[in-house]
Amino acid sequence: MKGRIEKIRSVGFKLIPLLPFVVLFLALLVAIYHIKVYW
């Protein structure tokens, strides 16, 4: 159990550097959605 949690945690820490890129990509998608619907 401990090993599995450690594994999840270590994968999680490896994914943190990708977070800003994911966030910016989602921001772009939401902006495009807003332009299409509300402009």
């Binding site: 159990m1 401990k2 949690i5 450690e6 945690r9 820490f13 943190i16 550097p17 977070l19 800003p20 890129f21 966030v23 910016l24 989602l26 921001a27 939401v30 902006a31 807003h34 332009i35 509300y38 402009w39």
Partner: protein, 374 residues
């Protein structure tokens, strides 16, 4: 045995969850509730996707405003700044909120945005009011002036966007410069601090410890203070700051930032980093209180002083700003927790490219109309 092992593992993660529930969540929920109240008070009903925000005059779903706060608070928090310099152009260009009121509305966000990170920095001892004091006094004097400049000279959207474009371009250049060998050599203290921090992190990792923040013994201590200079010490380093220069920087940034409706971190960080080479982990002790002081005095000027002395109404859209702020608090907190694990080498050029592109579009559009809306 296995249960106790599980308990030990979850105990490691527990303080962050506890911190979020105890400190951040009440703040986020409180600001969100304030936004709903402000919406009802200002409009009579809740504005959103179907009903325009009364001052902004635009229809936008509430979730979208919260999301704007989250992503701008997060991305700007990663580079040690408040969300304003991203959320302001986004509000103008994507959400189409182009009136003068966009500036004070943005100041609501920049005022509340740093509180999430402030508690975390204070707990990690990234805190020294003597270091922040003269910058804050400068902001206190300068930021009530900025709103008059905005109302008299930059009340139209196009020239104002051009000014924002120049600020974005300057910020883009700074983000790009930060990864150049010249800048890294110039900011020796920053490099040494980062190397020391990375060494500590690596040692912790080898010892099987969970990656954490600054060491327990980290403190920013005042060694000497007078009306001429302030000397602080942090993690074995000693640094002296000129009081008149700090006041002057605070004053200048205060005027410019409050005229735009941003927190001023985008100017203060490069100025302080270039003149003094202060490491980011230490600089936040000054920038966070500075942004809070600048935003609240600028906001008071827009709401009270400007209408009183000029008769021009420059009241913000409270609900609009508070919804963004509720998301920005969350974003800034997540940024303060993950900042140390994000590789600056990729992040800064990417953010620099985005801000630079938007900045250039704003400037070009002022001189020759682009075939699309910016």
């Amino acid at each position: 045995m296995r249960e106790s092992e599980v308990g030990a593992v979850t105990e490691d993660a527990h303080p962050i969850v506890k911190e979020f529930i105890r400190e951040q969540l009440p703040m986020i929920v409180g600001v969100f509730a304030l936004a709903i109240m402000a919406g009802f008070l200002q409009n009579g009903s809740l504005p959103g996707a179907d009903r325009a925000f009364p001052v902004a005059g635009v229809c936008v779903p509430i979730w979208h405003l919260v999301w704007v706060g989250i992503w701008t608070g997060y991305t700007m928090g990663l580079v040690g700044e408040a969300s304003g310099i991203f959320s302001l152009p986004y509000s103008m260009s994507i959400l189409q909120f182009t009136g003068v009121a966009v500036s004070p509305t943005s100041l609501i966000t920049t005022f509340l945005n740093p509180f999430g990170a402030l508690l975390g920095y204070r707990r990690e001892k990234q805190w020294n009011l003597d270091f922040a004091l003269w910058l804050c006094v400068g902001a206190l004097v300068g930021s009530p002036i900025g709103p008059f400049i905005r109302v008299y000279w930059f009340h139209d959207a196009e020239p104002f966007k051009m000014v924002i474009g120049c600020a974005l371009l300057a910020m883009a250049i700074h983000l790009w410069i930060q990864i150049t060998p010249w800048y890294l050599a110039r900011t020796v203290r920053q490099r040494l601090f980062k190397e020391k921090f990375d060494r500590m992190k690596e040692e912790g990792r080898k010892a099987g410890r969970v990656p954490a923040g600054l060491p327990e013994d980290f403190r920013i201590i005042t060694l000497r203070k007078s009306l001429k200079s302030v000397t602080i010490s942090y993690w074995g380093e000693e640094q002296t700051f000129s009081v008149p220069l700090m006041f002057g920087i605070g004053l200048f940034v205060g005027v410019v930032a409050s005229a735009m409706g941003v927190g001023g971190g985008f100017m203060l960080v490069p100025i302080m980093a270039t003149i003094y080479g202060v490491p980011m982990y230490v600089l936040v002790a000054a920038t966070i209180p500075f942004v809070i002081v600048l935003s609240i005095t600028g906001l008071i000027s827009y709401v009270i002083t400007v209408p009183m002395l000029t008769g021009v109404s420059a009241s913000p859209d409270w609900a609009f700003g508070l919804f963004i702020a509720s998301g920005a608090i969350l974003g800034a907190w997540v940024a303060s927790k993950t900042q140390k694990f994000i590789p600056e080498r990729y992040l800064k050029p990417m953010l620099g490219s985005i801000t630079g592109l938007i900045g250039i579009l704003y400037i070009v559009n002022y001189f020759c109309q682009l075939p699309f809306k910016v």
